[in-house]
């Protein structure tokens, strides 16, 4: 039986003291934690009086959207960069360390390994594949067999777009702000878009590496001059014929510091443009007049977040690219979500 009148010993006293201190410490910790939570809650409650509000720009007027989604498939490899449509409406995507060849439903047909990061791709009418890595172009036959590796033009070369014609290959070098013209053997035949006062060429401005080039049916090249927020048309010999486009976050313009980041051409000469920042895909007339929206910012939730969140997110890796198939369906490659949407004009 325990003696209730037992006097306290030193050991008991110290034990009780330690216990009390422990309880006090736990209590203090809880109090501090609760204060921290309360502080966090108060942070969340306070509206930012200096908020940068672009919410209204993230919603597209439904009347302007003339396309509907008729297909969707995942990207074949991480880190996608460019998409093109080749013969038989095969889909070619430069992603990861390869060019993936897909059928029109997105089923993988073939992978062409490059051994290093694929940046861009173009496919000739005979099915020959031209793949751009950072500093040079590689050529493959229809089976994916390597035919040639071209010399690198320079240390600053950063290929981000390719186009192929009957006799020429045009490589968009964002690092040197120039489109290089090659013959099909890989011999450099000309430089297009460099600043030249005598030829009245203002030069390409590339705040971020998204130089693209397309060869239109009229025989002229279309090049996106992103720093000027416009599309420029050049002859293969390098004369600037015309340009259009204006900087604006509104739907009819090109938003942010540098857009459009990708181009595609419809058979009748109209343009499909892709933007980053406010990710959106639009159609312009051959004269450069805004016509319609293929997919607005609200369609690319993950892509739009690329420039919203803190930390190491890098909007240089955001963006979209597009290609048009023989039925004028527009394939949109989302570089952040790594997927492809197939869009068809509404009836």
């Amino acid at each position: 039986m325990k003696n209730r009148n037992q006097s306290i010993t030193r050991r008991h006293f110290l034990k009780e003291t330690a216990g009390g201190a422990g309880i006090l410490a736990v209590g203090s910790g809880s109090f501090a934690a609760s204060m921290g939570l309360a502080r966090g809650a108060s942070v969340g409650k306070d509206p930012n009086p200096f908020a940068y509000d672009v919410e209204r720009l993230r919603k597209t007027d439904p009347k302007l959207i003339h396309y509907e989604q008729v297909g969707h498939f995942a990207g074949p490899s991480p880190d996608p960069r460019r998409i093109v449509i080749g013969p038989e409406d095969r889909v070619y995507i430069a992603a990861g360390n390869s060019v993936s060849v897909l059928d029109r439903e997105g089923a993988r047909v073939m992978d062409v390994g490059l051994g290093t990061g694929a940046r861009c791709v173009a496919v000739a009418g005979d099915g020959t594949i031209y793949a751009g890595v950072r500093d040079h172009v590689e050529v493959f036959d229809t089976k994916g067999k390597r035919l040639a590796t071209w010399d690198s033009p320079g240390k600053r070369t950063w290929f981000t777009g390719l186009a192929v014609g009957e006799n020429d290959v045009f490589a968009a070098d964002a690092g040197d702000r120039v489109v290089l013209r090659y013959d099909k053997s890989g011999k450099l035949a000309g430089r297009i878009g460099e600043k030249n006062k005598e030829r009245n060429i203002p030069g390409l401005i590339m705040p971020s590496p998204y130089l693209d080039v397309k060869l239109a049916r009229d025989g002229l090249l279309r090049v996106n001059n992103t720093g000027w927020h416009r599309v420029e048309a050049y002859t293969p010999s390098g004369d600037l014929e015309f340009s259009w486009g204006k900087p604006s976050n509104a739907i009819e313009g090109f938003c942010g510091c540098c857009n459009p980041v990708g181009l595609a051409l419809l058979p009748d000469g109209r343009y499909v443009t892709c933007e980053k920042g406010l990710p959106r895909v639009k159609v312009y007339s051959p004269e450069g007049v805004f016509e319609s929206v293929v997919a607005g910012t609200e369609s690319f939730v993950e892509n739009a977040k690329a420039t919203l969140v803190k930390g190491t997110e890098d909007c240089r890796l955001g963006g979209l690219d597009a290609a048009v198939d023989s039925q004028q369906r527009i394939y949109i490659l989302d570089l952040v979500a790594n997927d492809v949407r197939v869009m068809k004009h509404k009836a």
């Binding site: 039986m1 003696n3 037992q6 006097s7 306290i8 010993t9 030193r10 006293f13 003291t17 502080r39 108060s42 942070v43 969340g44 306070d46 930012n48 009086p49 200096f50 908020a51 940068y52 509000d53 672009v54 720009l57 203002p202 401005i205 705040p207 971020s208 720093g227 000027w228 927020h229 900087p247 604006s248 976050n249 509104a250 938003c255 942010g256 510091c257 540098c258 920042g277 406010l278 420039t307 919203l308 803190k310 930390g311 190491t312 997110e313 890098d314 909007c315 240089r316």
Partner: protein, 190 residues
């Protein structure tokens, strides 16, 4: 029947008081060390914002103990694209790309736009006017290269033991850095 407890020496009032005094002295010493320790650690350090963590919440403008915040926007020119349409300078939907007040994003007109050559413009910060609201930082980071960012300017900061902004920083971006390396500068985009 339970065994009888061994006989323990009882504590005298003198022993109890002596022990109590020791415990009180040790507690006091511990408390003093506890109070002094952060000050010793803080010696030679200053507050700074990690630009990679900053979420541009606006609290730097409103929570500094100074009448005008010690946090200012700074510009990493090496990263800047010198854009014609600078989203750190212009409202999201400007009427035109000119310096009209209705087109400018900064609430205090602290960002200055200077023509360099087509299509380049230089943007500089007038720190006398900047209140550290981060509105320009948000615009630049969202659509541009992220060359605008916030830093605590140490010619103004009074280096409070507990920085009032750090207590409410939504991105937990405030931290102490060595006083001889007081800035956390951006060297790459974003």
């Amino acid at each position: 029947m339970s065994p009888e407890l061994p006989q323990q020496p009882s504590v005298t009032r003198r022993q109890f008081l002596r022990n109590g005094a020791r415990v009180a002295a040790l507690t006091g010493l511990g408390g003093l060390l506890g109070v002094m320790a952060p000050r010793s650690a803080a010696k030679g350090t200053v507050w700074q914002i990690d630009p990679q963590k900053c979420v541009r919440c606006g609290n730097c403008a409103t929570h500094c103990v100074l009448e005008q915040s010690a946090v200012k926007c700074v510009h990493a020119f090496a990263i800047c694209g010198y854009c014609q349409l600078c989203t750190g300078y212009f409202e999201p939907e400007p009427n035109d790309l000119n310096t009209g007040a209705e087109n400018c994003l900064c609430p205090t007109a602290a960002v200055k736009r200077t023509y360099v050559e087509d299509p380049y413009y230089e943007y500089t910060i007038d720190e006398r006017l900047c209140i550290g609201c981060a509105k320009c930082v948000e615009g630049c980071n969202r659509f541009g290269n992220g060359s605008l960012f916030l830093q605590v300017r140490h010619d103004r900061c009074v280096n409070c033991n507990e920085c009032a902004i750090s207590k409410v920083c939504a991105g937990d971006a405030f931290r102490r850095v060595p006083a001889d390396q007081p800035y956390l500068l951006k060297t790459t985009s974003h």
